[in-house]
């Protein structure tokens, strides 16, 4: 994991000092609401329904035990004993006091964390595959490039006031687990004909009000040109992106309105002029790569026989292993998911006690590191198979072992009307209801891989348009209604969900979801996943049943 040098540390400390001055200025009335808004947003601070919300960066989802303990401490000291993990691998606190935010940032800086550019119309936290560096289908570990991009984006002087927010995701594996096709820029590590690794660059993808799948702008970019190419795209966007209407200000609209051919011509022209000046030196790449060197894996981890035995003897453990762990490139190791989707807890939330305990588990079983996923769970990425049983028991005691990763109750869910000032409708309550309706684990596991994403408004923070089942809260004359979509996906075969029909009332949502799943159970072919069935039969069979009584 990347460790800060003096430059990194100085920079975040100076950023804390700057934000402290800005906050004091605002509290003294020296700067306007509007000016402070732009300044605080660039430091992750929103004003929400009840209190400010502070979003802290989880650089490409990677955290160490010390940082997790610090989050627990902040939850205890400055918040109501919990925090929330987001779809872009960040961490949110919902109840800090504005006056104390500079103190929180100072505490974070002690453990190499910050809230820089986690909101606002600027370059945001770069996200990546939660299985980076350990998965079995990887072309190259994307994290060193994420770190290079993190540094480049941090306090970039030219691109701090973009037309709209800008998100970059990097994937290094064959299977896209980072939703790169739905980012402003998506980067895929690929091999060219000569066997060298570089980037396939996508641009103009995005979710929100106008979901669009990103298009390839550069099929193969040499690594040394990574930053010059990003800079060229950003300069063109900064100069020509629309600023007259915030709903048309994302780069996807610029690409759409100018056409890919014209847009890529502008980028190419700009890039050729700056390319040589911004080349990444091979030793710089190597130095960053060295910080992501594999940990000291035990070479005989696969010799263990207890793991197989324990699965035979304990069905609940075997179920957890099947659903909540993933294959690891090193024999004898697995990646273990920590489910933040327990039935009685809001999706993605974690208490201070759980955070502290998980930090200890990371130290004990996974080289002191932890990752957050874009589906709002956590992962201990490097667990020996012999340790999994003990880990499972401890996670179970913490209510963090619900064996539902990848199932219908592993929902992505935004904070909704309960917290967010933008929301039109509640989401946490509905997630709870769906969870209760699907409490039969055997049924849930029989349904298998179904991704349900639910947002409380059009802004789509929970990526409902790419959910296998999407739920979107809308407001109709002061009443909460929910639009359903089917067939979306953010993975390799990216697709935007198709609307099922008219919005359903709040008390009908759970019924509609269970009906959809029943239709699947009854009409699926052998081994056919939910998404595959929707692709095969379309939405009509589902529609007929959901609206049958209306």
């Amino acid at each position: 994991m990347y460790q800060y040098n003096d430059t990194d540390q100085t920079l975040i400390e100076q950023r804390v000092a700057q934000f402290r001055r800005q906050t004091e200025s605002f509290l003294k009335g020296e700067i306007s609401d509007d000016q402070f808004r732009a300044l605080r947003l660039m430091n992750g601070l929103y004003i929400q329904t009840h209190a400010p919300m502070l979003r802290i960066a989880g650089p490409y989802g990677l955290l160490n035990a010390k940082q997790i303990r610090k989050l627990a401490h902040i939850a205890r000291t400055y918040d109501k004993n919990y925090c929330h993990f987001t779809t872009r691998q960040n961490i949110q606190f919902n109840w800090p006091q504005l006056e104390r935010v500079p103190d929180i940032l100072e505490e974070l800086a002690e453990v190499q964390m910050h809230a820089i550019q986690t909101s606002g119309n600027c370059l945001r936290n770069t996200s990546t595959d939660h299985l980076a560096g350990v998965c079995i289908d990887e072309i190259e570990d994307p994290r060193p490039y994420c770190e290079i991009i993190r540094q480049w984006t941090t306090l970039h002087p030219e691109f701090a006031y973009l037309p709209r927010k800008f998100k970059i995701a990097v994937s290094g594996a064959k299977h896209d687990r980072a939703a790169t096709q739905f980012h402003d820029i998506g980067l895929h590590l690929v091999k060219n004909d000569a066997g060298e690794t570089g980037f396939r660059v996508l641009v103009g993808g995005g979710l929100g009000r106008t979901p669009i799948i990103g298009q390839v702008i550069k099929p193969y970019l040499e690594k040394k040109h990574l930053l010059s190419y990003l800079e060229a795209i950003l300069r063109i966007y900064n100069l020509f992106g629309r600023r007259d209407n915030k709903y048309k200000a994302r780069i996807k609209i610029l690409v759409k309105e100018s056409g890919m051919e014209k847009f890529s011509e502008l980028v190419e022209k700009e890039w050729l002029l700056i390319r040589d000046d911004l080349e990444l030196a091979p030793d710089r790449i190597e130095a960053i790569k060295a910080q992501f060197a594999p940990p000291a894996y035990e070479t005989d981890a696969a010799q263990d026989t207890s793991f197989a035995q324990q699965q035979l003897e304990n069905k609940a453990f075997a179920t957890w292993v099947k659903h909540n762990t993933a294959d690891h490139k090193v024999p004898g190791y697995r990646a273990a998911f920590i489910s933040l989707k327990a039935p009685d807890s809001p999706p993605g939330d974690m208490t201070d006690t759980q955070l502290d305990a998980v930090a200890d588990l990371a130290d004990q079983y996974s080289f002191g590191e932890l990752r957050s996923t874009h589906r709002q769970n956590l992962i201990l990425a490097d667990v020996k198979q012999a340790d999994l049983f003990a880990l499972w028991q401890q996670l179970d005691a913490l209510k963090l072992a619900t064996p539902n990763i990848g199932t219908a109750t592993d929902m992505i869910c935004c904070p909704g009307l309960d917290f967010c000032s933008l929301a039109n409708a509640g989401s946490i309550g509905i997630a709870k209801e769906i969870n209760e309706a699907l409490d039969d684990m055997d049924y849930l596991h029989d349904i298998g891989d179904v991704k349900i994403n639910m947002s409380g408004c059009m802004n789509g923070c929970a990526h409902q348009s790419v959910g296998h089942i999407g739920i979107l809260g809308v407001d109709k004359k002061g009443v909460e209604w929910y639009q359903l979509t089917l067939g979306g996906s953010s993975e390799n075969e990216a697709a935007i969900g198709e609307r099922l029909g008219p919005a359903v009332a709040k008390d009908q949502v759970t019924q509609a979801i269970t009906t959809i799943l029943d239709v699947y159970i009854k009409q699926r072919l052998e081994d056919e996943s939910f998404l595959d069935m929707v692709k095969r039969v379309g939405i009509n069979p589902f529609k007929e049943q959901v609206y049958a009584d209306n």
Binding site: P157, Y161, L162, L273, I274
Partner: protein
């Protein structure tokens, strides 16, 4: 009126001439439209010449004239209009402009650090009492990650 120039608070010698006002002696700046229209007359004036540009203006329109222009004013209509940052970078990094680049209009003092990094070397603030603080804001950070102008 005082401004910040090259990290010092100094008296300003320039006057901006509105498009419908008469040209006058001394160091004057005009809009890009006026420059295009009255270029020959302006080149004969006895003072130095500046051109004020807005975010939507294209620098290509003025690139060939930069040798005759001693001041470019980047006039912010709103502080969040980030095009000005790219204009400054392009003036220095692409067109190798050596004259004064001054931020004017509705920018805020918290932006002077970034502006200085992309090549702006003078700042005319809405409130002159903010000048000392803005001067200190130029040193908000002693480190940075990216190659830019400074």
């Amino acid at each position: 009126m005082q401004i910040i120039k090259d990290k010092q608070i100094v008296d300003d010698s320039w006057s901006y001439i509105a498009d419908d006002a008469e040209l006058k002696d001394g160091d004057i700046s005009v809009s890009l439209a006026r420059w295009k229209k009255d270029k020959q007359q302006l080149l004969k004036s006895n003072g130095k010449i500046g051109v004020r540009i807005g975010p939507a203006d294209s620098l290509e329109d003025i690139a060939a004239d930069l040798k005759d222009i001693q001041l470019i004013e980047l006039d912010f209509p709103a502080f969040a209009d980030g095009r000005m940052f790219s204009h400054a970078w392009l003036l220095r990094g692409r067109y190798n402009y050596q004259g004064e680049i001054r931020a004017t209009g509705h920018f805020v003092r918290d932006q002077v650090f970034y502006l200085s990094r992309v090549g702006v070397n003078a700042f005319s603030l809405e409130k002159t009492e903010d000048l000392p603080v803005a001067l200190s804001n130029l040193n908000d950070f002693s480190v940075n990650y990216q190659k830019s102008i400074r």
